[in-house]
Structures are given as structure tokens and as C-alpha cells.
């Protein structure tokens, strides 16, 4: 009986396992192999060389410090924003604005971040000019912190706000009725059910910062980080994959710690029978406070991106600031652009569709199945480690593993690479939303005579609908803006729009870079808007049904 019960999930599990064995473990092994092999055979000399390289340990320490600090700051800021939406009665339009503005930076390729920061806070920066002086020393710790927070805030916000959405707000009322103080109530009914997500957010942000190369390349200054060492070894003026592989493997170590940490926090996860909408207690002070806080946070972030909207429309920032449409016309008249743009859309849609299916399947296994703990741990492990591989390493690993195969230079390898690269965050979102749903649905449905498949389609999926749409757009948007891995595996006929941006960046054509960034931004906003529309329609239908 028990065996037949899980047959569908087992098939899904095996499918997912095979997928990651081929497209994650295999490439990973190629990296590990590079780190311990030289022309004479197995050796630890690459490790010795890297570790004795003087600045390596210093860079590693710097990276751990700045990544952890940024992750804490980001998570706190994201919590404030998410709390404003879920637990205050602030103006609905303002809530909508917070929701949109917070994730806006995610719609832009990270290549633009470093440059946007320099052109905002630098000596000739837009904000420097507005304030009449440089606000702070840009290079090193400060610049990195700013860049990382902007980069990771959307992801942290999505994770927190997603979980908060599935917390039963009635518990807050119960806690208050039971006579808990405001602070105690806050901790038992909001913070405690969120602990797992806090940890997830911290870990996601930590690794995004830890593995990012673009931001330190622009504003890192003398503050050397480990991603810079990785770049120098792998892609420096004398590329050395062996030493590069060593750095990449050492960069995987912190993920072991994080897997343990998430496991410990697992037991704090709480399931709810249903998520009930309640009237929040009226508090003008609270609403005002959070409105102001949110607006301040978002103003700081959006002001950094203001230059992206200014530069494409002036002749030559910052020297000739007359309005012109010439850059826009010039970029859009490039005949090759349409085809790379088309490729981008194609890749992003397929990534989003297949990605959502894979993530949903994986999350069903960990959150709603009776498969053994081992199986679940495998998936959890995959989710965490995929997040700790820098895109550059993933791209190179894919090249090493799949050269000479039919998928080389095709679209499929790009899509698969995106699926693996961005698996972690949507998986965590999906898992935490499925976990919050009542665990006995499947059993009840089975007793009523429904198959597992029917239950998933009729009960679980409709309840997870918003999250599914969120992860769909997460994959789409990321496939649209990503560059670090796919630059290595895109062929001459499968180039996407970000590779074009990378080209332009090499020639310092930032006017054109920003024009294309705006095009990507626009595309992402349109897609996100369409998805939002779908989500709203669905929830409207639902309310109508309930009313009738």
C-alpha cells in the first residue's frame, strides 16, 4: 500500500536526480578533477600553490566578512519591507509600489550595478552633483556593501514576503488575546515561524555576494575578495584552470556549514491548516512608521539606478548633457539585435516553463512526500550547492563537460545551465509555501478516492498558484539578465542579449549598454505585469466562486 502511494513522487524524484547528476554533478566533477590532477597524475600541488599565494586567505576572509555583513543588512531591510506589506494597513498603492520597486533591480543585468554606483556616487556622479559633495568613500567595503545589498534585496524580499504570505495572521490575534506583550507576540507569531526563511534568506544573500564578481570588479578597490582571485586564476592574463578549480572548490566549503544550519532550523517550521485573512489592528503610528521606513529604503536604492534612465538620453554623460535620442536609435537600428533579442525571449520562456516544473517537482518531494529523509536531503543539498557555484565556474564546467556533444552551442545547454544556476531561490520559495499548507490534504483526498495526481492538480496547485507564478517570473527574469555562465556556452547562433551587453562593456560603450539594459528592464516589466494580471484574475475568480 505504502509503495504504490509514492510511485508518482518516486518517478519525479528519479527524473530530477538524473537531471542533476548529468547537468550538475558531472560538471562539478570536472572542476574537482581539474583541481587535483596535473600532467603527472593526482596531486595536491595546485592547492599548495593557491594557499601559499599570500593574498588568498586574506581575500577569503574579506569575502566571508563582507558577504555575511551584507546578508544580514539585506535580510533586515527586506523584512521591514515585507512586514510593511503583510502586517500594516498602509495605503494600498504604496504597498503596490513597494512590491514593484523592491524587485526592480533584479530586472537589470548586474553588469550595470557597479557602473551605476560609480556614476551615482563617484566624483562626477549624479548624486554627488546633487548633494554638492561625495557622500562617502566609494571603493572597498562601503561600495561593496551598497552593491551587494541592492543586488540581493529583491531575492531576500521575495523569500520573506512569500513565507509571510502563508503565515496564518490569526495567530497574532490569538497571541494578543492570550495576553502576550507586543514584543512577545511579534516574536511568537511572526519571527518564530519565519526563522527557517530568515536563515534561507541569509544563506541565499551570502552566497550571491560571495560568488559575485561584477560588483567587486567595479567598486572593490583595494578590498580584495575571493571572487576576484577566482577570476584572475581562471580568466586572468594566464588562465590556469587547475588553480581556478582549487579556488572554486574552497568557495564551496561554506555551503557545508549552511546545509547544517538549515537542518537545525528545519524543526522551527510551522504548518497551517489554512491562511486566513484578518483585519489587522488599527495603528496609525505603525503604518506611518513603516511607510516612512520603506520609502527611505527604496529611495536610496532607486536613486542609484536613476543614472540608467538619464545616461542613454544625453549626448555624453557627464560632459555633454544635452538631450538626444541618437543612442537609442543607433542601438535599435542594429540588425543583429532583433535576433539576439528573440533568442533571449526564447531561452527565457523555456527556462521559466521547464524550470517551474522542475522546481515544483523537487519541492513536492521535500515538502509533501513520505519519501525517505535521504531523498529529501539529496534535493536540499542540490539546492544549496547550486547556489554556491559562481556562474563563471558553472559556465567553464559546462564547457569542459559537454564539449563535442550534440548539445554544445545549442539552446538546450543554455536553458539547462540556467535551470541549474537559478534553481536554489525558486526551490526555497516553492518549498516554504508548500510546507505551510496542511500536511493531511493528500491523505484526506486519498480517503475520498482521489489519486495523488488529482490531489496535486485540484488542491495543492491552486493553493500554490501565486508562488508558481512567482517562480515562473523569477526564472524568466533571471534568464533574461544573466551573463556570467552563459557567455561561455552560447554559440554564435544562440547568443542572447546580455552577451551583446558584455561586448559593449568591453568597448566602454556605456550609453549603449544602458539602452539595452532598459530594453531588458522593459521586457521584464511587461512579463511581470502579465503574470501579475494572471494572478489577480485567478484570485478574483476564486473570490467569486467562494461568494457564489
Amino acid at each position: 500500500m505504502k509503495k504504490s502511494k509514492n510511485i508518482e513522487l518516486k518517478i519525479i524524484f528519479i527524473g530530477i536526480l538524473l537531471f542533476f547528476l548529468t547537468f550538475f554533478l558531472l560538471p562539478l566533477l570536472s572542476v574537482i578533477q581539474k583541481s587535483v590532477v596535473d600532467s603527472e597524475g593526482v596531486t595536491l600541488s595546485h592547492f599548495a600553490e593557491v594557499l601559499q599565494g599570500g593574498s588568498f586567505l586574506q581575500a577569503l576572509g574579506n569575502s566571508l566578512l563582507i558577504s555575511a555583513f551584507s546578508a544580514v543588512v539585506t535580510t533586515v531591510l527586506a523584512f521591514i519591507l515585507a512586514y510593511s506589506i503583510q502586517y500594516t494597513n498602509m495605503n494600498g498603492t504604496l504597498k503596490k509600489f513597494i512590491r514593484t520597486a523592491t524587485i526592480l533591480p533584479m530586472f537589470l543585468p548586474t553588469i550595470t550595478y557597479g557602473f551605476a554606483i560609480i556614476y551615482s556616487f563617484g566624483k562626477e556622479g549624479l548624486l554627488t552633483k546633487l548633494f554638492g559633495r561625495q557622500l562617502f568613500h566609494l571603493y572597498g567595503f562601503n561600495g561593496l556593501l551598497l552593491g551587494y545589498v541592492i543586488y540581493t534585496l529583491p531575492i531576500s524580499f521575495m523569500l520573506l514576503q512569500n513565507t509571510m504570505h502563508y503565515i496564518d495572521k490569526k495567530f497574532t490575534v490569538v497571541s494578543r488575546i492570550m495576553g502576550d506583550s507586543v514584543i512577545r507576540c511579534f516574536f511568537t507569531s511572526v519571527v518564530r515561524p519565519m526563522l527557517g526563511t530568515f536563515a534561507a534568506s541569509f544563506i541565499q544573500c551570502f552566497f550571491l555576494c560571495f560568488t559575485d564578481f561584477g560588483i567587486p570588479a567595479s567598486v572593490g578597490g583595494k578590498f580584495e575578495v575571493v571572487a576576484g582571485v577566482l577570476y584572475n586564476e581562471m580568466l586572468g592574463s594566464i588562465p590556469d584552470f587547475n588553480n581556478g578549480a582549487v579556488v572554486a572548490i574552497i568557495m564551496l566549503l561554506p555551503s557545508v556549514v549552511s546545509i547544517t544550519m538549515l537542518k537545525i532550523l528545519e524543526k522551527y517550521n510551522i504548518r497551517y491548516n489554512k491562511v486566513s485573512e484578518i483585519e489587522l489592528k488599527k495603528s496609525k503610528l505603525r503604518d506611518m512608521g513603516f511607510s516612512v521606513l520603506s520609502i527611505v529604503i527604496l529611495t536610496c536604492i532607486l536613486s542609484v539606478f536613476a543614472v540608467i534612465f538619464v545616461i542613454p538620453f544625453v549626448e555624453e554623460w557627464p560632459y555633454r548633457t544635452t538631450f538626444t535620442m541618437a543612442h537609442i536609435r543607433q542601438v535599435l537600428s542594429d540588425s543583429a539585435l532583433l535576433s539576439v533579442y528573440g533568442n533571449s525571449i526564447y531561452v527565457s520562456i523555456l527556462t521559466a516553463v521547464i524550470g517551474s516544473a522542475v522546481v515544483y517537482g523537487a519541492a513536492l518531494i521535500t515538502a509533501r512526500s513520505t519519501l525517505s529523509v535521504k531523498c529529501k536531503q539529496i534535493i536540499e543539498g542540490i539546492a544549496l550547492v547550486t547556489n554556491t557555484i559562481p556562474g563563471m565556474v558553472l559556465g567553464i564546467a559546462f564547457m569542459l563537460s559537454f564539449k563535442g556533444t550534440p548539445i554544445q552551442n545549442g539552446f538546450i545547454i543554455i536553458i539547462v545551465c540556467n535551470l541549474v544556476h537559478f534553481f536554489s531561490t525558486p526551490y526555497l520559495m516553492m518549498k516554504s509555501s508548500l510546507e505551510k499548507m496542511n500536511v493531511s490534504w493528500e491523505t484526506t483526498a486519498r480517503l475520498m478516492g482521489d489519486s495523488w495526481f488529482k490531489t496535486i492538480v485540484r488542491v495543492v496547485t491552486p493553493n500554490a498558484y501565486t508562488t508558481i507564478l512567482e517562480i515562473f517570473s523569477y526564472y524568466f527574469v533571471n534568464a533574461m539578465v544573466t551573463i556570467s555562465a552563459i557567455i561561455f556556452i552560447a554559440g554564435a547562433k544562440t547568443m542572447v542579449i546580455t552577451t551583446k551587453i558584455k561586448e559593449l562593456q568591453y568597448y566602454n560603450k556605456f550609453n549603449d549598454v544602458f539602452v539595452l539594459s532598459l530594453l531588458i528592464l522593459l521586457t521584464n516589466i511587461v512579463v511581470k505585469g502579465m503574470i501579475q494580471f494572471l494572478a489577480n484574475r485567478k484570485s478574483n475568480n476564486k473570490t467569486k466562486k467562494e461568494e457564489s
Binding site: 563617484g122 566624483k123 580568466l235 564547457m399 552551442n409 561561455f488
Partner: protein
């Protein structure tokens, strides 16, 4: 619902199988060219090819030097490209590790001797780059040599490239070693790195980016990029340093794909060298082949050549010297 799922699955399988097989035929006929060259060079190559009957018979895909370097090393002969243009010493390393290029079947009468599997398309020079407005605003004297850049007055106003990550910096180090020997170079380089501080860049185009953005007043980078900026009306100028404008070449090479080698790739390589050099000389005014002269007014003040062959080993040695100065 189940039917719908099955249909979806079928559709997905179908799409995937078309993706896998779709790109077989058309790829064989077109020559794929991978290049790390700048815009101007790519245009010159395109003009040479299009003007000689190759229009539509090739695709050029450009990459950054580091990405293309990574691709050559990782993919070897399995690389999609039939032909590449790339910094010469990367081609040397790639050949050494992967034995991936064919010997060229045409002669080119180069002024120097090069390995049998590549021949230069351009020679690129290093120069000091200035933001004229920043120089004026901060009352900075114009440097005349690379050695000047170690003077304390440029502290905080200077940006250079790290030779560990980009070979553009090698042009600076070659100049210093040629003029002052290794020991004095260490002293000067230490001063330069101290002045550059936060602005030791990973990318070769980094210093020019900082100069343009007004973050620094002085940088060291590729001469032709500064020339282009000046011509475009930016407050950018350049100085040919007293130690000399040293050069690195970028070359064309043809991938050895055994039986699958596309003969047209070799013909196109020849066509670029025979017909593209004239236009290339306008942007990169260093004669590389017999009978060439730099266009009037475009030549740099002080072209120089390093006494030893520019190999990866030499670069490694110079990297180590540079690391000592940080």
C-alpha cells in the same frame, strides 16, 4: 487534465528534439569566426571579407579577451569557431595545451617571424591617458613618462590595470623594464600601485572607463581607444610615454578540425590579411607586414619593441615581479 499534461509533455519533447537537431546543416556552410577584437577591427575584417565575395558566408562573434581565452583553453578543437582572432600569446598557450590550430597555408611577408599557425592582424600600443578636465581642475602637471606616474602628486588620481588579470598592463611593465631594468622597475611600480590605490583594474579597458567617468585624471591603457575618445570630443587626451609605446599583437588562426575543417576558413584568414590590413592600419598604425606604412599623422610618437619574445612564460615572470610591488 491528465491528457493536457501528456500533450504538454509531448510538445516539450518535440521542442527539445528540434532544438537538438535543428542546427546541423546551415552551420556547416558558414564559417564561424570568434574574435576578441575591438569594433574598428571587426568592421575592417568584415569589409575585407564582404568586398571579396564572402558576404553572408561567415558569422563573427566577439568576446572579451578573458572569456575567449577560457573558451580556447577549455574547448580546444571542439570549439564552434573555424577561425579565431585573438591576442597572440593566448594562441601560443592554447596551441601548447590543445594542439588545436592548423598551419597557415599562405605566406604573408611579416616583418617579424611568427609561429606557423598564426599571423598578426593588428599591433596594439600602450599609452598614458588623461582626462583633460580633471587635470585642469586639480592643477596636475601632464606626465611625460610612465616613471612620472609614480610621483606622489598623482596619488588618488591614477588608474592602471593589474597584469595578473589583463595583458594590457604588460605594455606598461615592458616599457619600464626596457628603460630601467628590473630593479628600478620594482621601485617605480611600487610607487605606481600606491598612487593607483583603489583603481588597480581587472579589465584592460578599466582605466579608460575611470578616466572617462572622471574618477581619476590619469590612466594607462590602449592608445587607439584613447585616440577614438579624443576624436569623439570627450575630454580625453593621450601621451606617448618617453619609455616608448610598446606593442602586443592580435593574430588570426584557423582551427584544425581534421576532416571537418572548413577550407573556406583558411581562405578567409588570407583574405583578411591581404585585404584588411589597409583599413586596420588606420586604427592601429603599426606596420606589421613588408611594404606597410602608418597613415600620416596617425603614428604614435615612440613605437618600441621588447627585446625578448612575448611568451606566456615571460608574462608569468613579469606577473611575479608585479605581485612583489603591491
Amino acid at each position: 487534465m491528465k491528457k493536457k499534461m501528456i500533450r504538454l509533455l509531448l510538445a516539450a519533447t518535440l521542442t527539445v528534439s528540434t532544438l537538438l537537431t535543428g542546427c546541423g546543416d546551415s552551420a556547416a556552410s558558414q564559417v564561424v569566426i570568434y574574435s576578441n577584437a575591438d569594433d574598428e577591427a571587426v568592421t575592417a575584417m568584415k569589409n575585407a571579407l564582404d568586398g571579396n565575395g564572402y558576404e553572408g558566408k561567415y558569422i563573427i562573434q566577439t568576446f572579451g579577451t578573458s572569456e575567449l581565452g577560457g573558451k580556447l583553453l577549455a574547448e580546444g578543437k571542439d570549439i564552434e569557431a573555424d577561425m579565431v582572432t585573438m591576442s597572440s600569446f593566448y594562441l601560443d598557450s592554447a596551441q601548447k595545451t590543445n594542439q588545436m590550430f592548423r598551419d597557415l597555408t599562405f605566406t604573408s611577408n611579416a616583418l617579424d617571424t611568427y609561429p606557423s599557425f598564426y599571423t598578426p592582424i593588428t599591433a596594439q600600443e600602450g599609452a598614458i591617458i588623461l582626462n583633460t578636465q580633471m587635470m585642469q581642475d586639480n592643477n596636475l602637471p601632464a606626465p611625460t613618462s610612465i616613471k612620472d606616474l609614480a610621483n606622489p602628486e598623482y596619488a588618488g588620481y591614477l588608474s592602471v590595470t593589474d597584469v595578473k588579470s589583463s595583458s594590457t598592463a604588460w605594455l606598461l611593465i615592458q616599457a619600464l623594464i626596457s628603460a630601467y631594468g628590473e630593479d628600478e622597475t620594482k621601485t617605480i611600480l611600487t610607487g605606481i600601485y600606491k598612487n593607483a590605490g583603489d583603481h588597480i583594474e581587472e579589465s584592460g579597458s578599466g582605466p579608460l572607463k575611470k578616466v572617462r567617468a572622471g574618477e581619476v585624471a590619469v590612466g594607462f591603457g590602449l592608445r587607439h581607444q584613447a585616440v577614438a575618445d579624443k576624436a569623439a570630443g570627450l575630454p580625453v587626451d593621450y601621451v606617448d610615454p618617453a619609455e616608448g609605446n610598446f606593442t602586443l599583437t592580435e593574430s588570426v588562426a584557423v582551427i584544425d578540425k581534421g576532416d571537418k575543417s572548413n577550407q573556406m576558413a583558411m581562405d578567409m584568414a588570407e583574405c583578411i590579411i591581404k585585404n584588411g590590413r589597409k583599413e586596420l592600419l588606420e586604427t592601429y598604425p603599426i606596420p606589421v607586414y613588408e611594404g606597410e606604412t602608418a597613415p600620416a599623422g596617425a603614428a604614435s610618437g615612440n613605437p618600441q619593441k621588447f627585446s625578448e619574445p612575448l611568451t606566456a612564460e615571460l608574462l608569468k615572470k613579469h606577473q611575479e615581479l608585479s605581485e612583489e610591488c603591491k
